[in-house]
């Protein structure tokens, strides 16, 4: 099962990640004309710290708190019956009602689009938001569903053999960084 991955290149460091997040925090405020009715929801696991950081930047800029929620999409995955390893279900924690609100869904990497698809279904089951927007750290292409991101920190063209790895302090410890890895020959 375990595939050997070797690091090919580091594409972002902590500063680049911070600057990028600050930029899209501004974009979110600009596009939504402030923070009224905004909820930031992070997709477990690495979307969660991204949502929290965006909320903090937005608060710095606008001086207003934006609610942050956590979404676990395990129950909505379309590969549940085909996966070998049964995923552990975690809690979904959305502190306020989503009905009529603008949801910013945050995740680390946008790839096939299936995670966002599952997250959209999960959100819909929590209520009827006015709007859902997607914010990601990396968009690496290769979409399998008609889904696009509204806010992207960095577009990274990749091959399917490659894997994007995001290290975020809150989850992985150490310094923030994003790397391109490649599956080793074998």
């Amino acid at each position: 099962m375990a595939t050997n991955l070797v690091e090919k290149a580091q594409i972002m460091d902590a500063d680049a990640i911070r600057r990028g997040l600050v930029r899209i925090a501004h974009e979110i405020i600009e596009r939504n004309k402030g923070t009224e009715g905004l909820i930031l929801i992070g997709i477990r696991r690495r979307g969660v710290p991204l949502a929290q950081r965006l909320a903090a930047f937005i608060e710095e800029i606008e001086g207003r708190k934006v609610p942050v929620g956590v979404l676990d999409i395990t129950l909505y995955r379309d590969d549940l019956t085909t996966r070998t390893e049964q995923p552990v279900v975690h809690r979904t924690e959305v502190p306020v009602t989503v009905a009529g609100k603008t949801i910013i869904l945050a995740d680390d990497v946008l790839y096939t689009g299936r995670t966002i698809r599952a997250a959209l279904d999960a959100l819909m089951d929590l209520g009827r938001p006015a709007q859902i927007q997607v914010a990601v750290l990396i968009d690496r292409g290769h979409r399998e569903l008609p889904i696009r991101a509204d806010y992207v920190v960095k577009n990274v063209p990749t091959s399917k053999r490659e894997v994007i790895e995001c290290h975020l302090t809150e989850i992985d410890g150490g310094e923030d960084r994003v790397m391109i890895m490649e599956k080793a020959e074998g």
């Binding site: 129950l75 019956t81 390893e85 975690h90 089951d125 209520g127």
Partner: protein, 312 residues
């Protein structure tokens, strides 16, 4: 993470790892029950059968809701509405439901061991919803889950199980589960309703209810199973209530922040006094909600995911 067995037959044979996984998963899933839209698509296309050879309201409904909240299709067979009344054997019924493509069969049966028997016949998962006087593992798990939610842990707690231990599958499942998770379990009831060798299950047995309740963190009152009594195990429900009934005075011996549990349905005024059943320590309605969460967890862990290799 995956459960060790395709079936949930009892807590005697379940590892602490599996119990913990079920409890953790239930904790994650409980939130769904409080949503305005109580449905996730996880078990779409899966079929869950409840096969009940004994009357039951809450357990059957609880499983059915758990299945429906997870988008499984649920089908119910109760003895009064099937060919069971015409004397069909359990093996033949099992074959029939298997051919119909059930993924999980949840069975309640008056005879101990029937779920083991069914599990040997079926490739589908079998969940024991109560077999005779043997086990009721999902009730045991939901009781543990309720204690865990209120107390934060099971280890080190003193749990008193009071009443008709002899006929109680709930008692046996609670004893196995709680002792494995590190709780101290004591049981109490009339000597005719305490089965021999019960202490070999790792509990202390008393005939004075007060001794069991004293210092307890949790008092779990068992239903007096009037329908299972052979004549003469105790003289009258009046005397039973006076000597063994759980009431306010007796509960005063328990810890101040004790929980009062009952698997239901209650015989009010017999094994439990109405005022305490409805009182501030009672978790009886909470147990019902938690029952759905635990059963959702079990269905997810049995049905969500497959064993065949597939690319991510």
């Amino acid at each position: 993470m995956r459960l060790a067995s395709k079936d949930i037959l009892g807590l005697q044979e379940m590892s602490t790892t599996d119990m913990q996984l079920i409890l953790d998963t239930a904790e994650s899933l409980k939130e769904i029950i409080s949503r305005p839209i109580k449905k996730v698509p996880t078990l779409r296309g899966k079929t869950v059968l409840t096969l009940f050879y004994e009357p039951s309201t809450r357990t059957r409904t609880s499983f059915e809701l758990a299945g429906k909240y997870m988008s499984a299709d649920t089908v119910n067979i109760a003895t009064t509405t099937s060919s069971v009344v015409k004397g069909e054997t359990l093996r033949d019924t099992a074959r029939t439901v298997e051919v119909m493509g059930m993924d999980v069969v949840i069975m309640r049966h008056p005879i101990s061991g029937s779920c083991h028997y069914l599990a040997k016949i079926l490739d589908a998962s079998v969940v024991n919803a109560g077999d005779g006087m043997h086990e009721h593992p999902t009730q045991g798990l939901l009781d543990m889950f309720t204690i865990l939610q209120r107390k934060g842990q099971l280890k080190g707690l003193r749990v008193a199980i009071v009443g008709d231990v002899y006929h109680s599958r709930v008692a046996r499942s609670n004893i196995w589960g709680l002792t494995k998770m590190g709780a101290e379990v004591v049981v109490a009831g009339p000597s005719t309703l305490i089965p021999p060798y019960i202490e070999e299950l790792g509990v202390k047995a008393y005939t004075r209810v007060e001794e069991a309740i004293e210092g307890a963190d949790v008092v779990n009152v068992l239903r007096l199973q009037l329908e299972r009594q052979q004549r003469g195990l105790f003289p009258s429900t009046r005397e039973y209530s006076r000597i063994f009934g759980v009431n306010r005075e007796r509960l005063a011996l328990a810890k101040k922040d004790h929980l009062l549990m009952h698997p239901g349905p209650m015989n009010r005024g017999v094994e439990i006094a109405s005022d305490v059943a409805d009182g501030e320590h009672s978790t009886i309605t909470e147990q019902v909600t938690n029952g759905v969460a635990v059963r959702m967890a079990i269905l997810y862990l049995l049905l969500g995911g497959a064993t065949d290799e597939a690319a991510d």
